[in-house]
Subunit: 228 residues, 2 copies
DNA sequence: CAAATAGTGTCTTTCAGACAATATTGT
DNA sequence: ACAATATTGTCTGAAAGACACTATTTG
């Protein structure tokens, strides 16, 4: 390959699908666009990759700049790249999309590049509501999340540092959109090596027996998996 | 986001990890580079994305131009993007990598951009033998393939249109690097709905009972999975 | 005590793995 | 007949799903 005028350069951006579980629904972090095209529409946080910057660093930086949210040790993985020639009317752009998971407590604050930053329940993302091809990117992020709950400990990334098995079950129920048997879920989760680590502490939900608190285990893959 | 000189453009390429099973090993399709940098080293087939071209089309086109292999209906999926700022000494490049699977019969012929095109057993890909970061990309492609054999019918993409259960088992054994019990494999594969479809025909391996021939089924996910 | 939530036990079915047994071919 | 490969059957253990039951708290 050669770098000649035969090969015009391309604008490369990163966009981040940030998901959390709150108020009983799966919610996505979105910003309101302050510029054309799609001014006033909602979009995924994201922006241009800088010359000497890694893709993952760019995703983390743009998220912080636009929403004030610091990923820190939170889950961040590459989702895929989106490069349909007509995806941006201004120029040829390729967007490298990332998927991030945050616990319920994270609160965005609008940044410099965006007029507004908010959590929106994913079921309220209707066709045409998001700018560019961000609806497809978000869908892919949600589908990836659904699949990874089965064989990875990703669900713990939606919880705080300490969580109950009921907290974890609610994450699965909301993301998979169906109820799970509490007793079978308890047995499976506590029997999967390295998934969760018991602490000495408990948490009371008001009435009812207090639940034991757990922290994330070291496992990267779940054996056996928590099948959908 | 805005298109100003603050956002220098980037060169976007596609690289393709093409895998096949032949001569008892998992082999990758590689081309010998005719130009600097890394002249004479082996590399993944790939090249620049054209202005009005989809990423997937670019992958398919570059593969054909450099190796003469036509993917046609063969398996092709996006693997991920690689954009470390120092991955190409000439300029900032981001490569969108694809994973393709071909049956044993495919034979490459060197194309215009490459001096040579060949199948190389993946165990012969030693550190430093490939150009750029292609070794990491290849590793990711192999790991993706290993994982997808479990829950998708990807293994059939390594076989011809008609194949025996022993053919399919050999694909699993070679890619996973361990032997599988032939009788249990037979029961699982033929019991997984939509994985393989029996034909009326059989094939004889010389001595021994002839094996029934099958074609690919319509399933996209395997239920139950063929666990590693 | 009643209600509510957490957690355990039991039973049935499905499936994986080990391995025996049968089927069908070439030599 | 014998060797080789394909295919089916049998047994055991792990794990899933349904659901009864026990445990521990608040009102």
């Amino acid at each position: 390959m050669s770098f000649t005028s035969e090969h015009p350069p391309v604008y490369v951006t990163v966009d981040v699908v940030v998901l959390t579980v709150r108020a009983g629904s799966l919610q996505a972090l979105l910003v309101r666009r302050g510029e054309e095209p799609h001014q006033g529409r909602l979009a995924l946080p994201g922006g241009f990759v800088r010359p000497a910057e890694d893709l993952e660093s760019a995703a983390s930086r743009e998220l912080w700049e636009e929403t004030g949210l610091d990923l820190g040790p939170a889950h961040l993985e590459q989702l895929g790249s989106y490069g349909r020639p007509d995806r941006d009317p201004r120029a040829r752009t390729v967007s490298v999309a990332y998927l991030a998971i945050l616990p319920t407590s994270a609160e965005p604050t609008p940044g410099t590049d965006a007029a507004e930053a908010l959590w929106l329940p994913t079921e309220q993302v209707t066709p045409g509501r998001l700018a560019f091809d961000h609806e497809a990117i978000l869908s892919d992020g949600i589908e990836r999340t659904r699949a990874k709950l089965e064989y990875s400990p990703l669900a713990t990334a939606f919880c705080g540092d300490e969580f109950t098995i009921a907290d974890l079950r609610q994450v699965y129920e909301i993301i998979w959109g169906r109820e799970l048997d509490a007793s079978n879920f308890h047995r499976k989760v506590s029997g999967t090596n390295g998934f969760i680590v018991p602490t000495e502490r408990t948490r009371s939900q008001g009435r009812g027996r207090p639940a034991q608190l757990f922290t994330r285990g070291a496992a990267v893959q779940l054996h056996p998996a928590i099948l959908r």
